[in-house]
Subunit: 315 residues, 2 copies
């Protein structure tokens, strides 16, 4: 297994990425064989110096030197096309050629999506690949919410595919057996909602391979009423960013509580792009070491469990 | 000034409505003349007994006996048409005839909207009357969010009118001078968002009489970045119900904090239907005495400041 890691993406790269590699290895001492090999994309001199400084065991680690960086605020398509020697573009090149089995970055989300769609492409039958987010819930277990912003205008059929993709993710990565799927809506009964939700409900009810439990409302999002919460990317992005803001609020108000600590989203690492042909993990721009460590673990899990194969089989 | 009050609406009516009247009068002792006259709609025997039991000063209070109740889960249009002697239908009849100056209910929200649109009608030029909600903010001052569910699918022009209606409400009722209007969106820059938000932005930028500050994101909702937060009713309803759920979470987690206490929405009373020809206030089904008291105060404020006249002048 060989996992590609963009060392130049994120506000605290490459140092925190290097620290994340160390965290992962420290978490599995003496199991060098169980560690995935890592291919690191970025400025070789800078990365090599940090690897030495942080005393990273170089066994199974290879650096691929790249000369360009796609910044957080660059136009994704333009930057991806023009910066062919960027860590993201080269990373996707390796993934597309099968030189790596997954690719991870905490860099420009749009460029990561462009790379996913252009280099490794959507799985046949998937109309709109999606990104989900972890959602803290009162029972202490994470749920997932999707889409969270890639697809701001959706068709009803897109929501059905999000439900399937989210269910496989929840089952395989979040370890929730037979995850409950809820349609985010503004009323409990079928027939409620905007045109999209009204049209999606009957499709979800008939869809095979998902455990659809009906509508859920805003007040149910932090409860365990459903494990996979489905909506268009506009709604999902607003919910996610609102949820993310709660951590700062509790910190500033000096509120300390196990449940509210779950709103520190940085601890979860990144989320996979679901519906493309290889595991791609996108991290938050503010990712620190723990997030990088977790992203590598998620990629490893997705490869080990053949999540992509499962999605292909069930589309 | 004569304010109509549905005594049969809400989970704890009529007792909590009666207690609310008492709270209001106790809050203004010795100012009997400054109190609005009240017209109470509902079962006369039941209300009269409670007024005696709660020792309410009957000065300026009149009961109008009604024999029917529109339940919380009845179909609004059907119930409003068929139950012509319900407290809501009779209450709107009085309002339409000018026998009262405002109407308040914590009952069936849909029936209250139907009553507003059919009995007293939208202000000329207003395409879609709306309901807003108070939004707690970290600075301790309430903002407002609209629409929160009446108009689940919107056109860009609707959002511009929500901005105007919300601005007048924020200025006159929330006492925020020159309130900042933010378009709820999934990115900061113009051009971001779903089709609705993309189309609404330039209209809001050009709109006169509002202080449009641009896009706000999910993370800005509990901050003071904007005072009037505008979105379609689907998005707004989900934000509102999510925000409402935070109070229960803090209670169950035993979190006590001044800011998080603001999420106890019941304390705010109801919200006005904005864009119709008379003041109509709709309360939460779980309204207790304090909410009823606050609803009467909001109605009084709207009458005293001639909020309806202001809206008419500025459409």
């Amino acid at each position: 297994m060989n996992i590609g890691l963009d060392m130049m993406g994120g506000d605290f790269a490459p140092l925190e990425a290097v620290k994340g590699i160390n965290l992962l290895r420290e978490a599995n001492p003496g199991k060098a064989d169980a560690q995935p090999n890592l291919t690191l994309f970025g400025d070789e001199a800078q990365i090599a110096a940090l690897l030495v400084e942080q005393r990273v065991d170089m066994n199974g680690i290879k650096i691929v030197h790249t000369t360009q960086i796609i910044d957080m605020h660059e136009h994704p398509t333009k930057a991806f096309r023009e910066k062919q020697d960027s860590s993201i573009a080269v990373g996707f090149g390796y993934l597309a050629k099968g030189l790596t089995d997954a690719f991870i970055s905490a860099g420009n989300t749009g460029a990561m999506m462009v790379g996913s769609l252009f280099s490794i492409k959507a799985i046949e039958g998937i109309h709109r690949p999606t990104i989900g987010a972890y959602m803290p819930r009162e029972n202490g277990q994470l749920g997932c919410l999707l889409d969270v912003g890639i697809n701001s205008d959706c068709k009803p059929e897109n929501l059905v595919q999000f439900a399937l993709l989210g269910s496989i993710f929840a089952e395989q990565v979040l370890n929730i057996p037979n995850p409950k799927v809820g349609l985010i809506n503004i009323g409990e009964e079928e027939g409620k909602g905007n045109l999209l939700a009204q049209a999606a409900y009957p499709l979800l009810k008939e869809a095979e391979g998902i455990n659809f439990i009906g509508n859920i409302e805003g007040r149910d999002i932090f409860l365990d009423k459903s494990d996979v919460m489905i909506c268009d990317g506009f709604t999902g992005n607003i919910i996610l960013k609102l949820a993310e803001s709660i951590h700062g609020l509790t910190q500033r108000r000096n509120v300390h509580d196990e449940f509210f600590d779950m709103f520190e989203f940085e601890q979860y690492g990144g989320v996979p792009v679901l519906g493309v042909n290889k595991p791609v993990i996108i991290g938050h721009g503010i990712s620190h070491a723990k997030a990088f460590k977790n992203m590598i673990s998620i990629a490893q899990k997705m490869i080990e469990k053949d999540v992509i194969g499962m999605i292909k089989a069930r589309v």
